[in-house]
Subunit: 336 residues, 2 copies
DNA sequence: CTGAAAGCGCTTACAG
DNA sequence: CTGAAAGCGCTTACAG
């Protein structure tokens, strides 16, 4: 079909050219230390000169390693509107490719242990996997049993010893609360995300810790639940306003809810940030387009992906890896 | 390393179990019509029963087809803030996997014909490629020479016969202009994107066509150039306002600029949409969070990905494929 | 329609 | 440190 005329260059060709055996070529290309320096050099040069590219399929068949890493993203609607995934994936892709590994993009429903994704991952087609925000842990447990190395982007629900990377959700909530206290705000509320999931819970916990640092405790009335949507932020803000007369600051667990909160505040005749200061989380595009521009907790999303890839690569080499928490930073704009 | 105890099931196993040869098993699995129905059925059942999964590496080595499709995304900053790419990629991934093809995610710089991406694509590691918004056409031309099938998401600059899929940029501009005229607006301006690139040019052309349909021509003063950024929209709006006293409607080539335009309009004491109506393009998250909520031209982004994948699959089968333009739709909110 | 056999291009004990 | 050789699990002319 494809008129790829060029006859493929193989080990035989470069072995002949370099005056060594195919085994030696293989050793050099696989970084086997047991090769004479001169011969190694000759092989490397020949490979370079002839523009040789190893055939992955052959390599995979012989070695049992495919060199492929699955990036598994749950196929619900969240991916459709959140640039987060693309950004993390780009970080992963870059690191993986630099290490001669191939990132396979799996967007599919992960609702069952026997679904297509599960099948796929067990089929030996990949050497490892990186999961995005994992909800279904039975799948994971199964993979662990099989011995497939994996890393999770986000903090897993169960406090097992899965390897993961996440941003400092707790620290983000804490920084927001501190900023409010330090700038003299008195009645500080929060709009949570889904607090059954770890990220939402930790952001709330960090916020609460900020209260504690100042010798106070947030009353229940100061905590309104949202679901990360614009409308939920608006509605939660209305409740907060109604329940707390002196309300002068609100930390929302994401930017979308924060923008909803600003709208609700202004509808109630309040001026942001004069009457009420607001901080969001994500430092997304909507934080920049918001009026007033939204102060927000920023995480290094590309780094999240790069770190995930590096953790997995370490694990593939049987190195002892530790989960990592990436720092966050408060980006000050005009809303707080 | 991985304690994958299960001995692999191979063709031999299922050939023995089904009482046929390995060749027959292969034929059945590759949909070769030349197999007796009874034997085919027996093989299919055995495969099912034994939970057999074909070894891709072996298959690739023997057939010369890898079953992998590269999704190539240029590694500039745009991917970092635009959910567009993730959404298209998810559409691609879904269709590809359903067809037993594997989506390989390549995020890298594509600036040269000899860059890593070029090398990679020529190395025979993939059966085809899908490009996102292609700038560098010399690479493409090279791929065509090699015979690697590919599809472009977005309209290529050069009006060659590359296979592509794009949304109806022209129609979007046209719909916006029509909407303004039909709702009685008189002095209608536009903020363009990068008009060197096709998308920006076509959106402008469509807008101009709307003027022509109403027997008019937009004066140069009614066209302000932007670069798709928030600030450029704000600045362009100021120019538009200064140059056109009666300005009462503006079509911006993306939502970000439209939001900037709203801000500039309000800063100038105008009320949106009463004094000035504004329409954006993309129907992104910022259109929803905007105040007032932004009317915007919406494209079906998932479909864009699915269509790209289907075009490529057709091409892989040597079918005659045609580039496709997907319809767009004006989503009415409050800004127009 | 079917099967025996060669071959795809690597990797890896094994023996030296 | 090195090479000859077997083998990874498929596919595909070839002969029937």
């Amino acid at each position: 079909m494809a008129p790829s005329k060029k006859p493929r260059i193989t080990y035989s060709d470069i072995a002949k050219e370099a005056g060594v055996s195919k085994a030696t070529v293989s050793r050099v290309l696989n970084d086997d230390p047991n090769v004479d320096d001169d011969r190694r050099k000759r092989v490397v040069e020949t490979v370079e000169k002839m523009g040789y590219k190893r055939n992955r399929a052959a390599s995979a068949l012989a070695s049992g390693k495919t060199g492929m890493i699955a990036i598994v993203i749950d196929d619900d609607l969240s991916i459709l509107s959140d640039p987060f995934y693309a950004t993390v994936a780009s970080g992963i892709s870059r690191v993986l490719m630099r290490n001669d590994l191939q990132p396979l993009l799996l967007v599919a429903e992960m609702n069952s242990v026997d679904g297509p994704v599960a099948h796929y991952l067990q089929g030996g087609e990949v050497d490892g996997a990186i999961f995005f925000q994992l909800h279904e842990s039975s799948l994971i447990r199964k993979l662990e049993k099989i011995g497939l190395p994996f890393v999770i982007v986000g903090t897993p629900h169960t406090n097992s010893d899965f390897l993961y990377v996440d941003c400092d959700n707790f620290g983000g909530g804490l920084q927001a609360a501190r900023h409010f206290f330090e700038s003299g705000r008195k009645v500080i509320g929060t709009i949570t995300g889904d607090i059954v999931a770890t990220a939402g819970k930790q952001r709330l916990d960090g916020f609460m810790q900020g209260y504690r640092e100042h010798g106070k405790v947030a009353s229940k009335k100061l905590v309104a639940q949202g679901d990360y949507s614009l409308d939920s932020g608006r509605i939660a803000m209305r409740h907060l306003l109604a329940d707390n007369p002196g309300l002068d600051a609100v930390f929302a667990a994401n930017d979308l809810m924060a923008v909803g909160a600003i709208a609700a505040a202004e509808e109630a005749g309040k001026v942001v940030p004069d009457d009420i200061a607001i901080i969001g989380f994500d430092d997304s595009l909507v934080a920049q387009t918001s009026r007033p521009p939204l102060s927000s907790i920023k995480q290094d999303v590309v780094n999240l992906g790069e770190t995930a890839a590096n953790l997995l690569i370490g694990k593939l080499k049987d190195e002892q890896m530790e989960s990592v928490i990436l720092p966050v930073e408060l980006i000050s704009r005009q809303s707080a």
